[in-house]
């Protein structure tokens, strides 16, 4: 393999990955994002029969165009992912990693149904449409919302899992109790425990349920379920708020560390300034915040010098 080939592969990876920010990668990002948004809009509109019949050829042409683009994107991604790790690192294949990653699977399954349709023209169109809708998840590659959410849930997984566990126990307990108490009075509504569980979840989600209890104990149970649903909302909110605050704090700590590192030698080079700027933009910190941090650090330094001097 020549070096020119390697270079090209490397450059393609950089552009598609967008990790090294350049004009080409930003354009590529915008182009794919806009195409995905248009695709989602087209899929939604296509489901309206009048629009589908009126613009069938245009919609089909658009779909063909996007499939070609997405196929090229997929092939390029697979090809360029080979340049991710240097060849001498054994057992680490950038290609395998990409193909079996979440985004790799999304890219694959949102494009391939089109070819399947060519091979088997009898396939159900609605299933194909569903697969095409997967394209919306291509967007989350360019938005950190998903990753942030996953990171937040991961860092608070104990609280989340205990909240879900609590819900699970409550659903078993309450639905079996309401089955025992109201099952005889309203056999058509609570014929079995699964039916009662369905009632429980509806009540938890949307408040006072669709079913009026008849017995006294039944109404007490319903009221308890209501209270539980408020508690559940509060628990979820609290957990999310804590996770989020922790995340912001973590980012600020990271920035502070970086800043301390840079200020340690007393000079701020151009490159360091650039790095700080990009970090600030990534973390969404305000200028005032950064200024306060710098001031605090200078103050600390002065105090340390005073202490050393005396």
């Amino acid at each position: 393999m020549t070096t020119a080939y390697k270079k090209l592969q490397r450059r393609t990876l950089e552009i598609l990955d967008g990790e090294v920010v350049s004009r080409a990668s930003v354009w590529c990002e915008y182009f794919i994002a806009i195409l995905v948004v248009l695709n989602v809009i087209v899929i939604i509109l296509e489901s309206v029969p009048e629009i589908h019949t009126a613009y069938a050829t245009q919609l089909h042409a658009f779909d063909l165009f996007s499939v070609v683009i997405f196929s090229i994107e997929y092939v390029l991604r697979v090809w360029s992912a080979g340049a991710k790790y240097p060849p001498h690192t054994q057992g680490k294949s950038g290609r395998r990693e990409y193909i079996f990653s979440f985004y790799g699977l999304v890219d694959f399954f949102s494009t391939i149904p089109f070819y399947l349709q060519l091979l088997f023209p009898g396939a159900d169109l609605r299933v194909l449409r569903m697969f095409r809708l997967l394209r919306i998840f291509k967007l989350s590659r360019y938005n950190s919302a998903f990753d942030d959410m996953v990171a937040a849930v991961k860092s608070e997984r104990d609280s989340f899992s205990s909240a879900i566990f609590l819900m699970f126990i409550a659903s078993l307990l309450f639905s079996s109790m309401i089955y025992i108490i109201e099952g005889h009075a309203q056999p058509d509504v609570f014929p079995s425990i699964p039916a009662a569980m369905h009632w429980f979840f509806v009540t938890i989600i949307s408040g006072w349920g669709n079913i009026e209890p008849i017995t006294f104990v039944g109404s007490v149970l319903v009221i308890f379920t209501q209270v539980l649903s408020i508690a559940l909302a509060a628990i979820l909110t609290g957990v999310v708020a804590t996770a989020y605050t922790a995340q912001v704090e973590r980012r600020e700590a990271l920035y502070e560390m970086e800043l301390r590192d840079i200020l340690a030698d007393g000079v701020v080079t151009e490159e360091e300034q650039e790095r700080l700027k990009s970090m600030q933009a990534k973390f969404g910190m305000s200028d005032a915040q950064v200024e306060a941090l710098i001031e605090q650090m200078e103050e600390e330094k002065r105090l340390a010098q005073n202490q050393a001097g005396s």
Binding site: A145, S206, T237, L303
Partner: protein
């Protein structure tokens, strides 16, 4: 003179008069709003027509005076050019509110045929004048603004959740209930109602649809939790940030070991701006004092 008027209108804590001006404007705005609301009741309008008219006239005079004074006095804000401060005020949100809350009256004089209801709505804009004196509202905006990325992400998630659950519902129930789920735009309406208001307006018929409906309802609960969580953490982060800024100022003041009159006034202003209680400031003061003492010994 201009400087003094500007400080008073700006609510600087150095003058007692600025507090009175604030109170007078607040009272006038509140009575104005009450008048606009009462005036829309036909029987009240008929009985007290003249009174309302006179009241409106005098309050417009009052607001006009305020507006003119503000423009005139803000010439003193920047020393290099008188119009820089003025321009800044005129095109600031508060300047625009002041303008649009007063102007309809004059419009009415020039164009007597204008629809009265529009004028009435514009007059109600005056209530926004109060937001200048309410720092809590500004805090809210700042907090939301500083977390705009998180809000954007939450909205993005909401959008994805809506579209995905709507399409799944279309596939599951499209044939069973074509009047509700026949097209994806129809199902999107259902999904928005389910996610924002809870499980409910349309009963799903199929088992698969039932599960999707329950999951969407649960997603709605999660979405509310995410939004509330972001706002709560934005607020607490903002308070922490203000505290840090105030403490930095305190340390700055104590650097030379004493507090001059100027510095005290600056601290006081900052305290009012950040709405810290005296107790909080006292605690921070103690901490800063002990820290500098330790550092210097």
């Amino acid at each position: 003179m201009r400087q003094v008027v500007m400080d008073i209108l700006d609510g600087s804590p150095n003058y007692k008069a600025s507090r009175y001006v604030e109170w007078v404007i607040t009272v006038v705005v509140l009575t104005n709003c009450a008048a606009v609301i009462l005036d829309s009741i036909p029987s009240v309008h008929l009985a007290y027509k003249d009174f309302f008219h006179a009241f409106e006239f005098w309050s417009v005079m009052f607001f006009t005076l305020e507006y003119v004074l503000r423009i005139w006095s803000l010439g003193a804000k920047f020393s290099d050019s008188a119009w820089r401060g003025r321009r800044q005020y005129i095109f600031s949100p508060f300047g625009l509110i002041d303008f649009f809350a007063t102007m309809p009256f004059y419009l009415h004089i020039f164009f007597p045929t204008l629809d009265l209801r529009i004028l009435r709505v514009l007059r109600l804009l005056r209530v926004l004048k109060l937001s200048k004196y309410n720092t809590a509202l500004q805090d809210l905006f700042h907090a939301v603004y500083s977390e705009r990325k998180a809000f954007g992400s939450a909205v993005f998630l909401l959008l994805i959740a809506t579209i995905v659950s709507a399409s799944l519902m279309h596939f599951a129930e499209g044939h069973a209930q074509p009047e509700f789920f026949g097209t994806i735009p129809h199902s999107i309406y259902w999904a928005i109602v389910t996610i924002t208001a809870g499980y409910g307006n349309v009963e799903p018929v199929t088992k698969f649809g039932e599960i999707i409906a329950l999951v969407s309802g649960f997603l709605g609960v999660c979405m509310a939790a995410i939004m509330t969580g972001i706002v709560a953490s934005a607020f607490s982060n903002q308070v922490a940030r203000k505290k840090a800024a105030f403490e930095a100022q305190l340390r700055e003041v104590f650097k030379d070991g004493q507090m001059s009159e100027d510095e005290q006034a600056a601290l006081k202003r900052l305290q009012v701006q950040y709405r810290f209680t005296d107790l909080q400031v006292e605690a921070m003061l103690q901490r800063a004092k002990s820290k500098t003492a330790g550092g210097r010994s």
